[in-house]
């Protein structure tokens, strides 16, 4: 069983690497608004998010081993398919991080697994109905729902506090913003750490290391939570910048209403078992918060580019997943998986070096956003009496 356990360790390592990319990809969801409005200093924000992510992972352990269930035929799942799916998700996460675009990590992972299962076991291994009802339809509806809630919330906030002096308003919404962002972090930790726990548990079951009905081992919970939290702490600054300044210039009341809308929807959806993407909800809320104050303040061109990337996330990750499976199969055995693993690391390194040519980090994350087409230099007007726009 030596080669078997070696293969398993490569798969588990890849899963943890995926969780790490998942973490830094999603720091923006909870903290971008607090960082750009100055409610929290950049480093404090990522530290708080990391701690809450880690704690959130321990709050609920019920999902385990349900990743891609009902989407991919269980018989098609092998260790190599899981591995290739993880590589697909991870590589797509890194590419979109390089582009500074907040795309869904769970869609990337599902895409990777679907692509790998498709090429490994044929089209019949992919359940179209499951894919439609569990991924595509929720992906379409959740950002719209988040946007709607945030538009209503933001309009109400500006209406109700129009006569409140700036000092009280700013302070109040800073506190509210930190609170609601913390909730999003906690819920994110609960949902996303479970994705990785689910994958690792699935790998252990496929490998017969643990029984099919076994609960998630403690070391899996600990390592998944730690990888996610570490990624969150590193912070995907490129994405934070896009989410907090690129889509629209977020202010304190908007940051508060956007994070509250996200938190409420994520909590409600996970209670009802409605599978939505944290990233898409948060972006929808932020665009909604921008619209609720002043629709012209939203960079709609940026929103369109983001939606385009969301549309290709699943097929793109599927392509990488399929290629990773083919590569591993052509070389064969553990060596094949090891070679693909090293290649994925090389791609990661290259993207890191490429990103370093134009770095975004804690020091310049809040720099002025320069974009040619949209005339939204609204840094000058910040009157507390401003109501919602029609």
């Amino acid at each position: 069983m030596y080669t078997g356990s070696l293969l398993l360790s490569v798969v588990v390592t890849t899963a943890l690497a995926f969780a790490f990319t998942n973490g830094f990809h999603d720091t923006a969801n909870a903290m971008a608004t607090s960082i750009v409005t100055g409610a929290l200093r950049p480093h404090s924000a990522v530290a708080l998010a990391a701690i809450l992510n880690f704690l959130g992972a321990f709050l609920s352990l019920q999902v385990a081993a349900t990743i891609a269930q009902g989407i991919v035929d269980a018989g098609a799942i092998t260790l190599t398919v899981i591995f290739a799916g993880l590589v697909g998700g991870m590589v797509w996460n890194l590419v979109t991080w390089y582009l500074g675009m907040p795309t869904s990590s769970s869609h990337a992972l599902i895409g990777g697994v679907v692509g790998a299962a498709f090429i490994a076991a044929g089209a019949s291994a992919v359940k179209g109905h499951g894919l439609l009802t569990k991924v595509l339809i929720p992906a379409l509806l959740s950002p719209l729902a988040a946007g709607l809630v945030a538009v209503v919330g933001t309009s109400l906030v500006y209406l109700i506090t129009r006569n409140v002096p700036e000092r009280i308003r700013d302070r109040g919404f800073r506190v509210g913003q930190i609170g609601s962002a913390s909730l999003v972090s906690l819920a994110h930790g609960t949902n996303d750490a479970q994705t990785t726990m689910g994958v690792v548990t699935l790998a252990l079951i496929v490998d017969h290391t643990i029984g099919e009905t076994a609960s998630t081992p403690t070391w899996v919970v600990m390592s998944s939570a730690a990888a996610l939290a570490l990624g969150t702490y590193v912070g995907g600054w490129r994405i934070i910048r896009t989410v907090g300044k690129g889509l629209t210039e977020i202010r304190n009341p908007q940051g508060f209403s956007a994070e509250s809308a996200s938190a409420a929807l994520i909590l409600a959806a996970s209670h009802q078992g409605f599978p939505l993407s944290t990233t898409q909800v948060c972006c929808g809320s932020i665009v909604g918060a921008g619209t609720g104050r002043r629709p012209a303040g939203v960079r709609w061109g940026m929103v369109a580019r983001l939606v385009a990337l969301w549309l290709i996330t699943l097929p793109a990750a599927a392509l990488v997943g399929a290629a990773a499976w083919l590569g591993a199969r052509l070389i064969g055995g553990v060596q094949g998986v090891a070679v693909v693993f090293v290649m994925a690391l090389i791609i990661a390194l290259e993207l890191y070096v490429a990103a370093d040519l134009k770095p975004v980090n804690a020091s310049n994350v809040n720099a002025v956003w320069r974009s040619k087409p949209e005339p939204s230099s609204d840094d000058t007007e910040a009157t507390p009496t401003e109501g919602p726009t029609s």
Partner: protein, 75 residues
């Protein structure tokens, strides 16, 4: 309901989302309005009602957040 979309769940999520994401947000904003009334310069003005309003609002928000967390964990 429908084979592709459970409208029942969708409505529940949307209504809960609106109640928590927009309703509680408005209540919090109302609390801030209460605070600002209490901090008004005019002597004896709206100090007590303002504080009462703010206190009630913040309590409602805290209760709402607590309920949200409880619901998520009791799944």
């Amino acid at each position: 309901m429908n084979d592709y979309l459970d409208l029942d769940i969708l409505w529940k999520v949307l209504v809960t989302g609106l109640a928590g994401g927009a309703g509680l947000v408005a209540v919090y904003a109302l609390g801030l309005a209460g605070l600002s009334a209490a901090a008004g310069r005019r002597p004896g003005g709206h100090r007590l009602p303002g504080l009462l309003l703010a206190g009630t609002c913040f309590l409602i928000v805290a209760a709402g957040v607590g309920m949200g967390l409880y619901l998520m964990l009791s799944r």
